[in-house]
Symmetry: D2
Subunit: 355 residues, 4 copies
């Protein structure tokens, strides 16, 4: 199922070694100013080769809008956007044919479909997220311009180290998309050392939605945290999702965990916002915040044992250029999926309740 | 949105103080033997008053099948099941009218809908999960009988204590649905003390799906872990979801985290199953396992500060009978939502790939 | 699939000889005044026994609201409504077990599901339309009160006779829901004669939606006429659907068929409205009108030949009380399905375009 | 809403004067041999310029597969196919800006979206059906190869003349896709005369599905005839749909209309198949047949009156190359939509009932 969303909907396609990846954005509000450059800025935040700690592959990921925009504005009909592959020439992946790389999707795809594209994971490659970022760029723009909603994220933990400080300005200044200026140098060194050792690191990302409308979310199965969880957990390599204090709240008693409402200056809000801006599946208007765990890149430059589809145990050394850490490039993807959920629920709310 | 599932679908209704709660199960396979007693056994695992550490409310939650079963077997048409409220007489909830209880859904519902049932949360009460357990009971039965799949769960952490041992036989023998026999006495004492103090505890639950078919999951947006995350995060009070090692895997290097495939006795499987039985959104055939964090019950017997819909800050003492800890009654709900997802994806897989 | 609608959604259940039929209305706008009597008035228009030319069965079809309404107003959460069967005692239908009645759904149900309720068709009985009328009653009320939209219908052809005059006031005054006062007496006589002969009649119904908003419909697959066609063709015994001039427009040249737009008094509208108020899948604001063909009641009081599930050809005389003509009771059902589509698309339009 | 289907799903995009039109086919069964030529053969049946009675525009409509096929076989992941526009250079459509062509979608689009592509209707042009034919070509191939189902269609009425004879072999031999060899010459002459006069003709098409599995269709809202009606009525210019005898059955008494089942040679089937192969929303295994009315091409070469978006009544002469009759090119589109519905329901049936 490659369609996401109820009203604001994306449908995506594309394998990493195919001629193109792309997306159809359906049901977009009409009259929105939109050009390739609005999308390109987000694709550039996701693309490989943007720093020494991302994969050195050279892909420019230039997007082309094929439909849905007329004289610079959306018309309400489907917006198709594709990114052609620079380098679609058939490389030699014969050594991966029939091989199940450790902690990769190969085995599941073979079990499910029987016939699969073994070249770098085909559809299971993170290259499919190009399509998500395109959709997210449009959603983010609408949210910002029409509703004043701002979505951003940062690396909250890398390897074993959690960061404390949150300096929003710093995030786009550093290649790890950290928000903790002080911790940056040490962490960069760790990432570089790990990369040079042919190994990889994981971490935790935090996403924030500032100034969301209250009332978003469609209980009981379309609760906002459920929709966000589904969106985020559908991103490659994500292993965990928590909203607000998440797992940590289980250390507390109810009397400590509870978050009173406070009426102040004619507005009511949560005092501590420990629930992450969502209660009972509906946004309260407080900043929505959640975290997601991403595992260390499974593609590493070390010899590993595994099996193939002939029932043989084999030794494997995967070649190619990989990210030593996924977080910097994943953050725009998480922001995109978040934007898709939030805009979808703004539209659902408008549809049902007429605001 | 009160419908869940793609092929095996439930649609639920009901507020805690309404005349009934219930569910329509749509698209159920025909020819399945089904009676009220198959469902009742799961409802009894969820019902209040089942032990000294659940809410002492007396609800028997007797289910009635209204359609879809003929001469003891499902006919493939919608199965409607309702549970009438024993005690629908209007209690005095006037003191809660317009009040936003701390960490409850009241505020969001008022923002979203304007007009709401303030009595114990109305639709936002956990009473709606009766409907989920009914649907889950049917899904579990089909999964077990037709596919040999077994779904079970237990309390993996209560308050600050994580449990190590997993003794499956012990789970249904103790009121906390713990799987760690040794840790039980101490934990029970903690729960009782907390209850007597008018306070509450949270914790973490682990769910396991034994013997799942390989190939379940519909990338990229219907990945199995995404569907499970959505299902679990839609349950009241759940604040986090992680699959396999989840957040903990971020402490590891890629070379430590990676899980090789092993061919053994003509079968290929994951060596460590640290990814939780799912890779790239598709089940590998290994046991699926995940964890969910549930916050301490927000309804506590202590005076709290909060606000009401007149913009006043008030003191609040919520009366009523509440669970000092949600885990024991939540576990059947998590199992139910898991069963709904797994059966749905078995049917999706059959639909697409013909197995 | 027993759920209908994108935003305003109904999910229905119930067999004719089960204990109840009912519906869950999901995503209803909040704050709408609603009571059982609002629904009952439409159920009474559909119920059997309302005249000498409907089935003489005695069913009062009393509805009960189980959820979603609080202190007389909708709360935005699911509205469940059921109608208990008066007369659920098991009659003797043994002679129909395994029999495939001519032009009935029995055979298809047996092929599809294997196991089926053979008593009067079970789920395939028109009794399921009780649920549709409940959902439609709510949709109609909202459309009328909030958007000034009025939906009504009448018998446009009975047997071989097409009617010319349309006197809206006459419709609810006569048992055939005809709008042609002059043609009534002759037609009633025809129906009575046919009934007394144990036979049945079919006909064509016309539905009109007065004062619809312009802009409804979601091309290309959610075109308004497509959604209406699906809604109407899902009603038992309906064999054809046409919008505007429908099949008759094929007799014309393009220059005759084309319908110019006219600007008049500051408003632009279709001159002839031969397209039925919809062009390219979107409402123009002109009255929406369409027709549907309904076949003669298949249950007749005559001996017929048919086969059973043992591969035997048999003679069959179906007992019971049947409608000699389905149109009078079907019209409220068509109106209901129309209301569901229109309100759904008002909400979709509001969701996407913000009006 | 530009997605169609439950399990076998297409999502389409593209305007007539945009750079490309295309489709994403989702959830396709894996392992199906597929190449561009399998699709091209159907596109060629739809393309303009194929005869003297279709639009003389020269579009070759060459398709390119961008994803989902690997080494000549589908992999179960989304199949994206695009057709680039040959001639995307901006022609002069300034005279149509703000104009509402008679019986065209212009007005509705302007009401709905505010901002629209006025060049030849943009998204409302029949050019979008290229995407449908691509999806249909894949569905047809799977239905034929894996289930032995054959879908075909023909012109059953052109202008005022209904045809009687059905010679399947003749259909692809003549430019009007008529099945009546005798009536061809006269009809061709009529079409040519009408064309030369700058006018247009409508008609009725009949579609047949030979050898369908019994049991397809998902009552009550996913009844097969309802799904077909929706699919067909979503095609541009279609004004009516009827299954089996359709509107004509209303001329009969129940005793004449009823169609007995007959057990013969170990198989049970409908004697007359007057219901069109579907009863109660489920296929019986008999040939499925239905008809659809298509209006005369609204684009004619005659001066017409109409209005524009400044509230002015104007005279309009639309230039360009148009089809004098839509039927020949529409038939492959109807076949395509039919194939999409049938395959979708084969997969749904497999998903629910496990066949």
């Amino acid at each position: 199922m490659n369609t996401f969303g109820n009203l604001f909907r994306i449908t995506t396609f594309g394998e990493t070694h195919g001629p193109a990846v792309g997306v159809i954005i359906d049901n977009c509000p009409p009259g929105v100013e939109l050009s390739e450059s609005d999308i390109q800025v987000e694709l550039d935040r996701r693309k490989p080769g943007q720093s020494a700690v991302t994969s050195p592959r050279k892909e420019d990921d230039i997007c082309e809008i094929l439909s849905g925009v007329f004289e610079g504005k959306t018309t309400g009909v489907p917006i198709a956007v594709i990114v052609k592959s620079k380098d679609a020439k058939s490389k030699d992946y014969e050594n991966l044919r029939g091989v199940f790389r450790p902690s990769h999707a190969d085995f599941g795809y073979e079990m499910k479909y029987g016939h699969r594209d073994h070249r770098s994971g085909g559809r299971a490659s993170a290259r499919e997220t190009v399509s998500r970022v395109i959709g997210g760029a449009v959603a983010k723009k609408i949210l910002k311009e029409q509703f004043g909603v701002n979505i951003w994220g940062f690396s909250q933990k890398i390897g074993k180290t959690e960061f404390e400080n949150v300096d929003q300005d710093f995030i786009e200044e550093n290649p790890l998309r950290m928000a903790d200026r002080e911790a940056f140098d040490t962490t960069l060194k760790l990432v570089e050392t790990t990369r040079d050792d042919g190994d990889s690191l994981g971490g935790v990302m935090e996403i924030r939605v500032d100034n969301p409308p209250a009332g978003l979310g469609s209980p009981v199965f379309g609760k906002l945290e459920a929709e966000l969880a589904r969106a985020i957990m559908s991103i490659p390599a994500i292993k965990g999702f928590e909203i607000g204090e998440g797992f940590a709240i289980t250390d507390k008693l109810g009397s400590e965990a509870n978050d009173p409402f406070v009426a102040e200056d004619g507005k009511t809000h949560s005092k501590k916002n420990t629930n992450g801006g969502v209660l009972g599946g509906i946004s309260t208007g407080d900043t929505i915040w959640f975290r997601a765990a991403i595992k260390p890149t499974s593609s590493i430059h070390k010899q590993q044992q595994t099996a193939n589809n002939k029932g043989e145990n084999i030794d494997l050394l995967v070649k190619g250029r990989h990210d030593p850490i996924l977080l910097p490039r994943a953050i725009p993807i998480l922001e995109s999926m978040t934007a898709l959920v939030i805009l979808d629920h703004v539209m659902l709310q408008r549809g049902q309740c007429g605001i």
